[in-house]
Symmetry: C2
Subunit: 413 residues, 2 copies
Amino acid sequence: MKSSNFNRRRFLQASGAAAIWIPTSVRGYTTAEIESFFVDGEMQVDVSKWELDTPALCVDLDLLETNLAKMQATMGANGIASRPHAKTHKCPVIARMQIDTGSVGICTAKVSEAEVMFRNGIEEILMTTTNVTPTKINRAMSLAEECPGFVQATDSMDNARLLSEAAVARNLVADVVVDVDPGMGRTGTPPGQPALNLAQLVDQLPGLRFRGMLSYDGASQHVAGFAARRARTLEAMAPAADTLELLQRSGLRTDIFSGGGTGTYNIDHEVSGLTDVQVGSYVFMDAQYLEIGGEQDDTVYSDFEPSLTILATVLNDQYAGRATSDAGAKACTINRPWPVVKGETDISYTSGSDEFGTIRYGENASRTYQVGDKLELIVSHCDPVVNLYDHIYAIRNDRVEAIWRVAGRGMSA
Amino acid sequence: MKSSNFNRRRFLQASGAAAIWIPTSVRGYTTAEIESFFVDGEMQVDVSKWELDTPALCVDLDLLETNLAKMQATMGANGIASRPHAKTHKCPVIARMQIDTGSVGICTAKVSEAEVMFRNGIEEILMTTTNVTPTKINRAMSLAEECPGFVQATDSMDNARLLSEAAVARNLVADVVVDVDPGMGRTGTPPGQPALNLAQLVDQLPGLRFRGMLSYDGASQHVAGFAARRARTLEAMAPAADTLELLQRSGLRTDIFSGGGTGTYNIDHEVSGLTDVQVGSYVFMDAQYLEIGGEQDDTVYSDFEPSLTILATVLNDQYAGRATSDAGAKACTINRPWPVVKGETDISYTSGSDEFGTIRYGENASRTYQVGDKLELIVSHCDPVVNLYDHIYAIRNDRVEAIWRVAGRGMSA
């Protein structure tokens, strides 16, 4: 296929790095075109985010860095560490930024995510899901052989024995934490005696090294209102905290007690013994988290900035009260609340249709759109949205500064 | 990373093509491993679908072929063609099967999908969405230069002029159909005089060749009950049919009037002048379509077979009344109705959690699951589910026969 922007690109390249600044635009560069503008990792021309072909997933670097700094400051003040969950961003570049700003490592949900993070230079990885099939156990043990900082979870005695056998077969001692259920009944072993039994078994098995516990209280993260959220998570996490004490009283040495998340990041240090917080969404934020309210602001959770947006283009403006864009369910997911049109008021956006987004104007809509206009959407729920894209455009002052590969995209296995 | 299944693979390879048949399994091959079993496109060993690493997206070839044959037979009996929508499967292999069984071409929703289909040997492509930005218009015109069977849609006079200018700049005459809105207000021009004006402009513009119309009545496809669905779509499509007559009376030659879909495939031939049906989901089916009821069977839409499934593995069985699997929203989407556990009764499945699926047992549940057990899910809504996966395993008699790349995955631009 021929270059589709030959003349424009030649013009831009001829003009070198001088500012070509197009604040509103009906243009659009593909990822391949923009990649061709990079030499030794440096952009040779200025490309505004408004010039990107759409739908495009973008992260604002200033806002992302603000979020990283806020987390680092809060963790420091609270005397606790962060171990961010990479299932949110699936980007080794962001994992590296997190570790460089003080995180003790990252979490992953899947062994395929852990593999791709390690292959991209991340060496402290806690996999929070128990591997149950021989294939996944083998993959995890292969990773453990190469990556001394890899820690696995287990939640049953049978599983612990399988892990130990696989490790022994490789002359390996694999680092393991016990996953303790905070009352969700989803994963993990029940707290108390069952967890103690499992921890003692892990400690005794020849192929395993007992490192501690994890307990992820997912059900509390989106509870609206800071006080209610605090009360709920402290109650939910109490049995896990008691379990930690039980383990320690039994003589087990625990150096990890991992849990918590973005919704409770400034509460989790009140959980006795918790060593690190598995925050994920704070890097990007999304419409779901904006709704829950914060400690200072009860209506909007404004602790972190919404850095992740989808750029979309208006395709049709012919029908009263609405317009149609090119970002539907395949670009936005159908999570609720729906995406938020950034910088505008009384304009709603729905992405229930696979291929098209629907813009609807309220009585006090701040603007209307014409065909070719672009708009920017704060994503509904960051994790599954990121999982739709192969690349994230890294933006600063509305200009493209880098293109990050979503190296873990689609890695659900 | 070392091979994670070295011993098993060596054993299987040493045994050549002899049947290694493992009907239930806690094993799991990765896509890369299975690809290594293919020589010249032929599998050298038998791998059961139950041995796949999970989550895995599978299509049953016998069921897929049954669906293709059923569509071909119905279209033949009704004297109308099919022009299947490739946005559903995003697989060139399936597009080729559709054309080989009588379809006149395929549709795509995005120019990136059209490009990838053409690069993979598909030469009759109707792009159903209007391209509005210079980049997308350029991409479409580049494709038109190379692919004589590429037809584009337009829905406004301004857009038609832009398309013509872009074509003229390339010394090209581009094939165009007018998109007519069937009352959804989403895309297209209104029927009647506005559509006639647009069609006449397209016919006159130097860079464009007028080919006809499309009108996709998406709102009728999932109406429950055959009679209600028939009444609604015939009413919704009447203005488009009248518009076609208006165009023809004005002297315009139309050889395409494309519309309809899987829900109305056996109704669409009643729309006067319709030339071809844009069926998509019929190849795979899904829980959403199963619900709408058919002409013969009012409770289940059994015209086509659910060929597309997700394989999942049980991760946790410790909590009463439920089990947890490894296929959550990132593997299944959160579309409703939820995925259906194939072959079982009174067992529900929800995928509201990003990483985990929840299995719940009713009073008359046909079975319970243990850690490591695999289960098969009929997908909720096929289009966005396919868009999550890089590969589809093609299965016959529960054995892996091929691995198909979802070449158009993520191509929302």
